[in-house]
Amino acid sequence: MAQLTATSEFAAEPRVGRGFWSDAAHRIGRDRLAMACLAVIVVYAVMAVAAPWMFSTWKDSYNYDNVNSAPSWRYWLGTDVFGRSILQKTLLAASTSMTVGFMANIIAVPLGMVLGAVAGFYGRRIDDLIVWLYTTLASIPGIIRLIALKVAFAGIVLFEGVNLLENTPLEFSLEIDLGGIVGLYIALGVMSWVGTCRLVRAETMKLRESDYALAARAVGRGDLAILFRHIVPNLLHLGIIQFSLGFVGAIQSEVILSYLGIGVQDRPSWGKMIDAARMDLVVGRWWEITAAVGAMFLIVLAWNIFGDRLRDALDPRLKNV
C-alpha cells in the first residue's frame, strides 16, 4: 500500500518533458559564468542602442580648455585630444563594435547556413560549386580578404540619388555608401560565412540520409520542403552557435580595420582610439588606450566564454572540437 501511495504521489507531479530548446536554456541557465557573460553582453547591447541616442552631442562637444585631462570626477575616464569625454567615446565605440558584430553575423550566418544546406543536400555540381567558392575564399588570408573588399568598396555608392516616397513627409534616401559602415557590414558578412557553411554542409549530408528525411520523402514531400522544413530547423542551433562565436571575430576585425584607417570613418571606434593614443603612453597619457582596450577585452572575453558554454549546451557532441 505504501508503495502504491508513493507511486501515485510520484505520478501526481509528473516531470514535464523538456524540448530541445528549453533543455538547452535550462542547462545554460544553471551555468553561472555563462549567465554573467550574458549579462555583460546584454549591457553592451543596451549600450549599443542607447549610446548614440544618449550622447548624440558628443561628436561636437569640443572643449579646448580641457584637452587631454586625466580622469577626474567630472570626466571619469579623462578627455581626448579635443577635450571630449572618453567615457562617452568608449561607449559610442562599443555601440559601433556591437552593431558591426551583429550586422556582419546577420549577413554571414544565414548566408553560410543556406549555402551549406543547399550544398550538402543537393550534392554533385551545386556542392562542387559552393565548395569551390568557399575554398577559394578561405585560401586568401583572413585580414587581407577583408582589406581587399574594403579597398574595392571605397568610393562606391549604391542607389545614388534614389529616394523612396519622394515628395512625402516619409521621404528617405536609399543611398548606400559602401565606403562607410554599411560596406564594413557587407565586407565582414560576405567574408566570414565559410565556417558556418562547412559545418552546416557536413551536418546536412548526415541528416539527408536520416530516417525522418526518408519518411518525409516517402509521404511525397518535395526537395525544398524537406530541406527547409525538416533539415534546416534541426540545424538552427548551429546557426546560433556560429553567431555567438562569429561575434568575437567581427569585433576584432572591426577594431583592426579601424586601426588601419579603413574601417569606420565617421564614428568612434576602439581601433581608432588605439591608433590615436598609441603615442600617448610615452608621454604618460594612459586613459584613452586603457579605456578602449579594457572595453574591448571585456566584451571579447564575455562572448568567448558565452559562445563556448552555449555551444556545449546546444550541441554537447561539439564539445572539445
Binding site: 577559394t136 586568401i140 587581407i144 579597398v151 577585452f297 571579447v300
Partner: protein, 459 residues
C-alpha cells in the same frame, strides 16, 4: 594514392583560378579607375587617359572584340604628331586618343609587325593615335571611351556636338583641321578625315584589323597572365613585384619564423604540462590565463610592448636599426598567439587521452608520463602539424599590424602602404602570392595525411 594526389592537384588549380577571379573582380572591376591617385591632376584629362591606356584600363573587360580607330601620319617629318582642340571644342577629349607608340608602353606580343603600333615604333616621323572602337558593327554606332573602358553611345544622341573641331599637327609641321560635328558612326568619322578636301594623303584614318589572337588582349586575360607570372609593376614606383618580394621578404621572415618556432615550442610545452595536470589547479590556472590572453587585443600587446621597450631600452622600440629590435615584435607575436594555441593543443591532447588505447595502456600498468609523452603526443602530431604547416604560407607576408607598428620594412608593411595608395598590381600580386602558398600548404598536408593515415584515402 596517385589518383588522390591528382584529384587534389586539380582542385588546387581550380582554387587558384578562383583566387585570380576574385582578385580580378575586386581590384579591377569593383574598384575601377584609380588613376586619380597616380596622375597629377594638373596634367589634365589627357594624361589620365594615357595612364589608363598604359595600364590596360582601356582594354575590354572580359574578351577583346574591339578594333581600334587609328590616325596615321603619312608625312615624312621629324616632329611628333599631336592633336589639339581649337577653342570651344572637346572633340579630342571625347575621343580619348592615346599615342600608341608611347614610351614605356608594354608592347603587344601578339601584334603583327605591320600593325600601326609597331609601325609607329619603327618609322620616325610616323606617329599613330589610337582610339578604341567596337568590331563588326563599327558603322552602326559611334563608341566613345568613358571612365571605365568603352561604352556605346545611345543611338539618338549626336556623338559630337556642333563645333567639334579637331586639329592634327603632323610631323612635317603642317596642320589639318577636321570638323567632326554631327558624326555619329565610326564610318562617318573615318570619312570625315580621309575625304577631307585638304588631306591629300597626309593623314590616314582607318580601323585596325581584327585578329583572333586579340581575343585574349582583355583586362581579364592580362590579369591572369600577370598573376601567374607575378609580373605586376607598382603604379607608384614602377618597381617589379618580384623585386619587391625579393628585397622585403627577408624582414618579414626574420620576425615570423622565430615567432612561429618559439610560439609552437612554448605552446606545446605549456599545453602538455596543462594536459598532464588535468583537472588540477595548474590546469585551471593555465586555461584561465590562456583564455584571458586570447581576449587581449593584439593592438594592446603591441602598444604595451613598445611602451615597455621605450622605458627599458628606447633604441629598440622602433625601426630595424639595431639587431635587438627584432626581439620585441617576435616576442609580441609569440605571446599574442600563445593563448589560442595552448587552448587548441590542450583540447587535441585531451581528446586523444580519452581514447580506448590509453585506457588499455593504463590497465596494463604503463605509467601516465610514458603514455602521455610516448603514445599520446605522437598521435596528436597530425592535427598539430597541420596547424603548423598551414601557418607557413602566412610567414612570408609577416604580420601586417606588427610590421607597420614597429617600422619593419617587410611585405606586410608594404601591403598596407600599397593599400593606402591603391597600388593595385602590388595588392593583387601579394594577395595572390599568399593564396597560392596557402593552397600549396593545404595540398601538402592532405598528401601527408593520405600517406601517414590510410583511413583518410578511403573517404
Amino acid at each position: 594514392m596517385l589518383r588522390f594526389i591528382v584529384r587534389r592537384l586539380l582542385q588546387a588549380v581550380f582554387t587558384i583560378f578562383g583566387v585570380m577571379l576574385i582578385t580580378f573582380l575586386l581590384f579591377r572591376v569593383v574598384s575601377g579607375d584609380v588613376s586619380a591617385n597616380f596622375v597629377n591632376p594638373k596634367l589634365g584629362a589627357k594624361a589620365r587617359l594615357d595612364w589608363l591606356h598604359r595600364h590596360g584600363y582601356d582594354l575590354p573587360v572580359v574578351v577583346n572584340l574591339h578594333r581600334r580607330v587609328y590616325f596615321q601620319d603619312r608625312t615624312e617629318g621629324g616632329q611628333p604628331m599631336f592633336v589639339t582642340d581649337p577653342k570651344g571644342s572637346t572633340a579630342s577629349g571625347r575621343l580619348g586618343l592615346v599615342l600608341a607608340a608611347e614610351q614605356g608602353q608594354r608592347p603587344a606580343e601578339d601584334a603583327d609587325p605591320n600593325a600601326p603600333e609597331r609601325l609607329a615604333r619603327r618609322m620616325t616621323g610616323h606617329y599613330v593615335w589610337m582610339w578604341n572602337a567596337k568590331p563588326a558593327n563599327s558603322a552602326r554606332a559611334l563608341v566613345r571611351p568613358v571612365e571605365r573602358g568603352v561604352a556605346e553611345l545611345p543611338a539618338d544622341e549626336p556623338a559630337f556636338p556642333d563645333g567639334s573641331l579637331i586639329e592634327f599637327s603632323l610631323s612635317d609641321g603642317s596642320k589639318l583641321t577636321v570638323d567632326l560635328s554631327g558624326a555619329r558612326t565610326v564610318g562617318e568619322l573615318l570619312a570625315r578625315v580621309n575625304e577631307h578636301p585638304e588631306n591629300d594623303g597626309r593623314l590616314e584614318a582607318g580601323l585596325t584589323e581584327y585578329r583572333p589572337v586579340q581575343f585574349f588582349r582583355s583586362q581579364f586575360f592580362e590579369h591572369l597572365h600577370d598573376s601567374v607570372l607575378f609580373r605586376g609593376r607598382s603604379y607608384a614606383t614602377e618597381q617589379k613585384l618580384t623585386n619587391v618580394i625579393a628585397s622585403r621578404a627577408k624582414y618579414s621572415l626574420a620576425i615570423s619564423i622565430p615567432a612561429l618556432v618559439l610560439g609552437w615550442v612554448s605552446a606545446m610545452i605549456i599545453s602538455s604540462i596543462v594536459a598532464y595536470f588535468r583537472d588540477t589547479w595548474i590546469d585551471r590556472v593555465g586555461v584561465l590565463i590562456s583564455v584571458l590572453g586570447m581576449c587581449v587585443p593584439m593592438l594592446a600587446y603591441m602598444v604595451l610592448g613598445q611602451w615597455l621597450m621605450a622605458e627599458v631600452y628606447p633604441e629598440a622600440a622602433w625601426g630595424l636599426r639595431y639587431k635587438t629590435n627584432i626581439y620585441v615584435p617576435v616576442l609580441i607575436a609569440t605571446v599574442a598567439g600563445l593563448g589560442g594555441a595552448v587552448r587548441f593543443y590542450r583540447t587535441v591532447i585531451l581528446d586523444e587521452v580519452s581514447r580506448d588505447y590509453v585506457r588499455t595502456a593504463r590497465a596494463k600498468g604503463v605509467g601516465l608520463r610514458s603514455i602521455l609523452f610516448k603514445h599520446v603526443l605522437k598521435n596528436c602530431m597530425l592535427p598539430i602539424l597541420t596547424n603548423l604547416v598551414t601557418a607557413i604560407p602566412f610567414l612570408i607576408m609577416g604580420s601586417l599590424l606588427l610590421e607597420r607598428f614597429f617600422g619593419v620594412p617587410g611585405l606586410g608593411a608594404f601591403m598596407i602602404d600599397s593599400i593606402a595608395i591603391r597600388d593595385m598590381p602590388m595588392i593583387t600580386g601579394m594577395t595572390f602570392l599568399s593564396a597560392v602558398l596557402y593552397v600549396i600548404a593545404l595540398l601538402m598536408t592532405d598528401v601527408l595525411y593520405a600517406v601517414f593515415d590510410p583511413r583518410i584515402r578511403l573517404q
